[in-house]
C-alpha cells in the first residue's frame, strides 16, 4: 500500500495538533504549495481559514504575512510603495506585505477590483513592479486567499479570469459536533498554535518543490487530463469551459498530489480527486445552471463520469 511522503506526513501531523478534522484542507494546501500554486479558501468567517494558514506557515518555519482586504485598500498597500528618502536623495521602495513566503489574503472579495488585480498579478508573475522597479518575490511564494461566499453583502466578486490564478479552490466546511467540542477542549487553557514547532525549513520546502516536478506523468494520463478539461467545454450548463491553463494546473496539482502520496507517478485517481478543486472555479456556468441550482462541482463530477479512464499501456487518445 501507499505511504505518504515522510516530510509531508510530519507537516500534516503537526498541523493536526492545531487544526481538528481539517486534514484534507491541509493536504490540499500543501499540494498547492508544493506545486507552486495558490489556494482560494472559500467559506464563511470563523471556520479556521486564518488559523490554517498560520499553522501551515509555522510548520514550515516561516512567518506569514497577512493582508486584510477592505474596500478602501489601495494597490500600494499590497505591493508596496516608493517613498522619497531625503538622506539619500532618492526614492526607496518599501515592499508591501505581498513580499513574503506565505501570504494570507483575507477576504479578498471585499476589496476593489483594482486592488484585487494588483494581488493577482503579483501571484501570477511572482514579482511586483512599482515605478518601473521590479522586485522579485522570494520563492517559495504561496498565497492563501480567503473569501466569503459571494452572496454576502459588500463584496466585489472576483472576475473569472482572475480566479483562474488560483490552483485550487477549497471549501473549509464546518467541523462536526465532536470536532467542534475538541476545538473547545484544546483551546481551553491556551492557544494550541503557540506551542507549535516548525518541522521543515524553507530550503527543504524548495527541495520538495523541485522533487514534485520530477513526478512522472504518463502520456495516457496527460491525455486523460486533456480529455476531462475539453469535456467541461461541452457540458450543456457551461458557458465557458476550462482553459488549457486549467489542464496545466490539473497536471501540476496531480504531480504534487502524487508526490504527497509518496508515489513517483500520477494515477487517474489523483486526477479524479483533484479535478473538482482545480476545475470548478474555472467554469462559467449558464443562467440555467443557476436556476436549476447546479453547482460547478457537480458538473465536474459529471464530466468525470463521461471520460474513460486510460487502462492501456499503449496510448489511445480519443
Amino acid at each position: 500500500m501507499e505511504h505518504m511522503n515522510k516530510q509531508i506526513e510530519h507537516v500534516l501531523t503537526n498541523i493536526d495538533q492545531v487544526m481538528i478534522g481539517k486534514r484534507e484542507v491541509a493536504t490540499l494546501s500543501i499540494v498547492a504549495m508544493l506545486a507552486g500554486g495558490h489556494v482560494l479558501l472559500e467559506d464563511v468567517p470563523g471556520v479556521g481559514k486564518t488559523m490554517m494558514v498560520r499553522t501551515l506557515a509555522k510548520s514550515v518555519g516561516t512567518d506569514f504575512k497577512r493582508i486584510q482586504f477592505t474596500p478602501d485598500l489601495l494597490p500600494s498597500d499590497v505591493v508596496g510603495v516608493s517613498i522619497y528618502n531625503p538622506k539619500t536623495l532618492s526614492f526607496e521602495f518599501r515592499e508591501g506585505p505581498i513580499v513574503g513566503h506565505i501570504v494570507l489574503a483575507d477576504e479578498i472579495n471585499r476589496t476593489s477590483p483594482k486592488t484585487q488585480s494588483a494581488l493577482l498579478e503579483a501571484m501570477e508573475e511572482g514579482s511586483v513592479t512599482v515605478d518601473g522597479e521590479t522586485v522579485h518575490i522570494p520563492k517559495p511564494f504561496f498565497v492563501m486567499a480567503t473569501q466569503n461566499p459571494i452572496e454576502y453583502e459588500g463584496t466585489y466578486p472576483l472576475p473569472e479570469a482572475q480566479l483562474d490564478r488560483f490552483l485550487l479552490k477549497i471549501k473549509m466546511g464546518y467541523p462536526t459536533f465532536d470536532e467542534e467540542v475538541e476545538v473547545l477542549r484544546r483551546a481551553e487553557h491556551h492557544e494550541p498554535i503557540t506551542s507549535l514547532q516548525s518541522v521543515i525549513t524553507i530550503d527543504e520546502l524548495r527541495e520538495l518543490q523541485a522533487q514534485v516536478k520530477e513526478v512522472h506523468i504518463e502520456d495516457s494520463i496527460k491525455a486523460y487530463i486533456v480529455d476531462i478539461v475539453r469535456n467541461t467545454r461541452l457540458d450543456q450548463y457551461v458557458y465557458l469551459g476550462a482553459s488549457p491553463r486549467a489542464s496545466l494546473a490539473l497536471m501540476r496539482a496531480a504531480q504534487s498530489y502524487a508526490f504527497v502520496q509518496g508515489r513517483s507517478f500520477v494515477t487517474p485517481d489523483d486526477v479524479q480527486y483533484l479535478a473538482k478543486f482545480v476545475l470548478s472555479h474555472r467554469l462559467i456556468l449558464k443562467q440555467e445552471a443557476r436556476y436549476e441550482q447546479i453547482e460547478a462541482e457537480e458538473i465536474v463530477q459529471r464530466v468525470l463520469t463521461r471520460v474513460a479512464v486510460p487502462t492501456q499501456k499503449a496510448m489511445h487518445y480519443e
Binding site: H216, E218, V266, T267, T305, K313
Partner: protein, 715 residues
C-alpha cells in the same frame, strides 16, 4: 451424503434394473450363441440380493466366486463343483489357461476364461449401478447407453430389438422419474414419509404408462429410409449412390422419396398429347424391374422406313422432337409410323422391349440426335373389339408370352387374391384391366413423391404398397397393376417414358425430368399391346372408338373422361411429379439422412460450444492459471494475467464503468470478496501502467495473489 435408502425402495429400483439388464443379456446371448441366460440372470439376482441383504464384502465376494466356479464346472465340464470331478476339471482348466496366459497366447485360452471375464464385467456393472442409484440418484446415462446399445445391435445385426428398446425406455423413464424425486428430497434434505413417496411415484407411473400406451396406439409411418447397411456398403464399394431423378435405366430397386427436377429433356412439336414411350420391362423381382434376357436382340430402323401400320391417313401427325439433353434414346409414341432423321445417325431398336436409340454411323456408338421427326398415327381401339377379350382366349397363348406372366415366388397370396376380388365381376380382359386401373382411384390410395416406403429385405414392393402404405407415385401404381394383371393370367408389361409435358402453345410441349413416368401395357388378345394408366392424377391416351351402344356399365361411363380429346388434365396437380426412377430416390433419401445427421452433429457441436462459452467462467480460470505457469514472470505476462482477471470479474458481474479507475474498482472488488489481493495487484499494475520506467516487483507474490483471485472467480 444422505441417509441410506430403505430396503423396499432399493428393491423396487433393482427390480427395474433387473428387467433392463435382462434386455442387455438377451441380444448378447443371441448373437454370441451363448446359452444359459437364466444362470447369468441368477448371478445378477445374487448380486442384488447381496447388496440388499448388506452382506459383508468378503462373504458376498466369496458367494459370487463360488457361483461363477459352479457355473463354469457345470457348463464347461458338465459336472457339479462339489463333485471330485468338478474340482479336477477346475484345476486342469486353471493350469492350462494359466500356461496359455503366461505365453501370452490369448487366442488359445478356453471358453471358461471368457466366461469368467464376462461374469467379472457383470459384477463391476452391478457395483456401478449400485453407485448410480444410491449416491448419484441418476441412472439416466445407463438407460441412454442401454438404448444406444440395443439400437446399434438392432441396426447392425440380425437381432430385432424393437420391443426391447420400447421396454427399456419405459423402465428407464419410470426409474429416472423416481430417482429425480429422490434427488430433490435428498438435496433439500426433506423428510418425506414413505406413504408420500409412494404418492409421488404414482404420477410418474401414470405418465409413463399413458405415454407408452399412446405411443403404442399411434399410427406409425412406414420406414422411409432404407436399411443403412446396404447403403454404407454401396458407398464403401464405390457404387452409384446419388443420381438425379428422371429417366433412368436401372429399375431393379424401386421406392423411396425423390425430389423434383425441372431440367428440360426435350421439346416436342405435336398436334396431340402423347405418351412418349421409351422402354419396357418384363421381369418383376419383388423389389423392382429387370429384363428376362441378358443381351437384347437388335435391329436397325432406317430413316423414312415404316415401322407401323397406318390406319387413317388423315390422322397422321408430323411430330418434331428437339432433344435438350445428351440421352441417346429415341422416343416411340404410340402409333409411330416412321422416323426421319439425319443420315449421320441410325436408329437401333431392341426388339424385346421396344427400346430405340440412335447410333452415330461413323463409329457405331450411341450418340444423341439433336433433332428428328416422326410420323404418328395413334391407333384408335374399337370398344367392341376390346370387349371381346374373353379370358378363354388367354388359355392358348404361346410361350413367347411367358415372360409377361412372370411373377416372383415370394409374391404374397393376398396380392393374387386382391386381383381376383377386384376383377371377378367383369368377364373380359379389357374390363378387368379397367377395373384395376380404377381400383386405386376409388380405394383410398394417394399420390405422393415424398414419404414413399422402400421395401425391406423380406417385403414385397407391390404388397407393401397395396396393403400397407397406399402412398406412392407412378412406379407403385404401374408395377402394382402389372402384377395384378399377371396374377389373373393376362400378359402385362411395365413401360417407361415421359408423359405429355407442359404445353407452351397448341402444338409445342416441353418435357422435363419431372415428366418421367411409368405406366402399363396389357396384351389384349386380338388387339395387341394396349397402354393403361393406373396412376392417380394421370389420364391415359387410350383412344377408344365408341362403336357400341351406350352401356349402363359404371366402368364404361368413365371412359369419355379418359380420352385424349379432353382438353385439360384437371386432376393433375401443379406439383405433380412422376418418375421412372429407381435407386436414385432411395439414394437421395439416404443423402437426406446423412445431411440431417451432419446438421444435427453441427448443431450439437454448436450447442456444445455455446455451453462451453456460456460457462467459460467455470473453466477459464484453470486454463489461465495453467497458461501462466508456462510463461516467464515479467510485466508483459503480468499485464496479460491482470487483464484476464478483469475479464473474469466482469463476467462474474463486477462491471467496471469506463470512468472508474482501476484503484477504485479494486477497492470495490476487495470489499465484495473481503480480500486485499486485488488492491495489491492493481497498485502493481498501476505502477507498470502509469509509472515512468520498468520497476522491479515481487512477481512471485503477485502471481500468488492473482491465482487466489482468479480461482475465486470460477466458484
Amino acid at each position: 451424503m444422505t441417509k441410506p435408502m430403505s430396503k423396499i425402495e432399493l428393491c423396487i429400483y433393482y427390480a427395474f434394473i433387473f428387467l433392463i439388464l435382462y434386455e442387455w443379456l438377451v441380444p448378447i446371448m443371441e448373437l454370441t450363441n451363448t446359452g444359459y441366460i437364466q444362470y447369468f440372470m441368477l448371478f445378477i439376482l445374487l448380486s442384488i440380493a447381496c447388496t440388499l441383504l448388506q452382506l459383508p464384502m468378503p462373504i458376498a465376494a466369496l458367494l459370487k466366486v463360488m457361483y461363477i466356479l459352479w457355473f463354469i464346472t457345470l457348463t464347461h465340464g458338465g459336472v457339479h463343483l462339489l463333485h471330485i470331478d468338478g474340482m479336477r476339471f477346475l484345476a486342469s482348466e486353471a493350469l492350462y489357461n494359466a500356461k496359455q496366459l503366461i505365453h501370452l497366447d490369448v487366442a488359445a485360452v478356453t471358453n471358461s476364461v471368457r466366461t469368467i471375464l464376462f461374469f467379472v464385467l457383470l459384477w463391476m456393472l452391478m457395483y456401478l449401478i449400485h453407485y448410480w442409484i444410491t449416491v448419484r440418484y441418476s441412472l439416466f446415462y445407463f438407460v441412454v447407453m442401454t438404448i444406444f446399445f440395443l439400437a446399434s445391435l438392432d441396426t447392425f445385426s440380425d437381432y430385432d430389438g424393437q420391443w426391447a428398446i420400447a421396454k427399456v425406455l419405459l423402465y428407464g423413464l419410470v426409474l429416472t422419474g423416481m430417482l429425480v424425486v429422490k434427488r430433490i428430497i435428498a438435496t433439500h434434505d426433506l423428510h418425506v414419509p414413505a406413504s408420500y413417496m409412494v404418492l409421488y411415484t404414482i404420477p410418474v407411473f401414470a405418465l409413463v404408462a399413458t405415454a407408452g400406451y399412446g405411443a403404442y396406439m399411434m399410427p406409425k409411418a412406414p420406414p422411409t429410409w432404407p436399411d443403412p447397411i446396404p447403403f454404407v456398403k454401396s458407398v464403401a464399394t464405390g457404387e452409384k449412390s446419388v443420381s438425379k431423378v428422371g429417366y433412368d435405366e436401372d429399375d431393379s430397386t424401386l421406392g423411396g422419396s425423390f425430389e423434383s427436377d425441372d431440367t428440360l429433356v426435350f421439346t416436342a412439336q405435336t398436334s396431340e398429347k402423347r405418351y412418349w414411350r421409351i422402354d419396357s420391362r418384363d421381369t418383376y423381382t419383388s423389389k423392382g424391374w429387370t429384363q428376362s434376357y441378358a443381351e437384347p436382340t437388335t435391329k436397325y430402323v432406317n430413316a423414312n422406313a415404316y415401322v407401323g401400320t397406318m390406319y387413317n391417313a388423315e390422322n397422321v401427325d408430323d411430330v418434331t422432337i428437339t432433344m435438350e439433353t445428351d440421352d441417346p434414346y429415341v422416343l416411340s409414341p404410340y402409333g409411330t409410323l416412321l422416323y426421319d432423321y439425319d443420315e449421320q445417325f441410325i436408329v437401333q431398336e431392341r426388339i424385346e422391349s421396344g427400346y430405340r436409340e440412335s447410333l452415330y454411323v461413323s463409329d457405331w456408338t450411341t450418340s444423341p440426335m439433336d433433332s428428328y421427326r416422326l410420323q404418328v398415327d395413334e391407333p384408335s381401339y374399337s370398344l367392341e373389339a376390346l370387349r371381346q377379350t374373353d379370358m378363354e382366349k388367354y388359355e392358348s397363348l404361346g410361350a413367347e408370352f411367358d415372360r409377361y406372366l412372370q411373377l416372383p415366388d415370394t409374391l404374397p397370396q393376398r396380392v393374387r387374391d386382391l386381383a381376383h376380388d377386384i376383377t371377378d365381376i367383369v368377364p373380359t380382359a379389357y374390363e378387368k384391366a379397367r377395373a384395376i386401373e380404377t381400383y386405386f382411384k376409388l380405394n383410398g390410395y394417394t399420390y405422393s413423391t415424398i414419404g414413399v416406403a422402400i421395401p425391406t429385405e423380406t417385403e414385397d414392393y407391390v404388397d407393401q404398397f397395396l396393403f400397407e402404405t397406399k402412398v406412392g407415385y407412378c412406379d407403385n401404381f404401374s408395377t402394382s397393376m402389372v402384377v395384378l394383371m399377371r396374377s389373373l393370367g393376362i400378359p402385362a408389361r411395365w413401360v417407361k417414358g415421359f408423359v405429355t409435358g407442359d404445353a407452351i402453345d397448341n402444338t409445342t410441349y416441353e418435357i422435363t425430368n419431372n415428366e418421367a413416368h411409368s405406366w402399363v401395357e396389357v396384351y389384349l388378345v386380338g388387339i395387341g399391346w394396349v397402354p393403361f394408366e393406373p396412376t392417380i392424377g394421370f389420364s391415359g391416351t387410350l383412344d377408344v372408338a365408341y362403336d357400341v351402344e351406350a352401356q349402363d356399365d359404371a366402368l364404361d361411363e368413365q371412359l369419355p373422361e379418359q380420352t385424349p380429346q379432353s382438353p385439360e388434365q384437371p386432376q393433375v396437380p401443379e406439383q405433380e411429379k412422376s418418375s421412372a426412377t429407381s435407386t436414385t430416390a432411395s439414394a437421395a433419401a439416404i443423402w437426406n439422412v446423412v445431411k440431417w445427421i451432419g446438421l444435427v452433429l453441427v448443431a450439437v457441436l454448436l450447442i456444445g460450444a455455446a455451453i462451453l462459452y456460456k460457462r467459460r467462467n467455470r473453466w477459464l480460470p484453470a486454463y489461465y492459471v495453467k497458461q501462466s505457469h508456462k510463461q516467464p514472470q515479467n510485466w508483459t505476462t503480468f499485464e496479460k494475467n491482470y487483464k484476464n482477471l478483469l475479464k473474469q470479474f466482469e463476467a462474474n458481474g463486477y462491471v467496471r464503468g469506463k470512468h472508474e479507475t482501476l484503484a477504485a474498482y479494486a477497492k470495490r472488488i476487495d470489499e465484495a470478496l473481503q480480500s486485499t489481493e486485488m488492491r495489491t495487484l492493481t497498485s502493481a499494475y498501476e505502477c507498470y501502467l502509469y509509472g515512468n520506467s520498468a520497476q522491479e516487483a515481487n512477481f512471485a507474490y503477485l502471481q500468488e495473489c492473482w491465482e487466489y483471485l482468479i480461482n475465486r472467480t470460477s466458484g
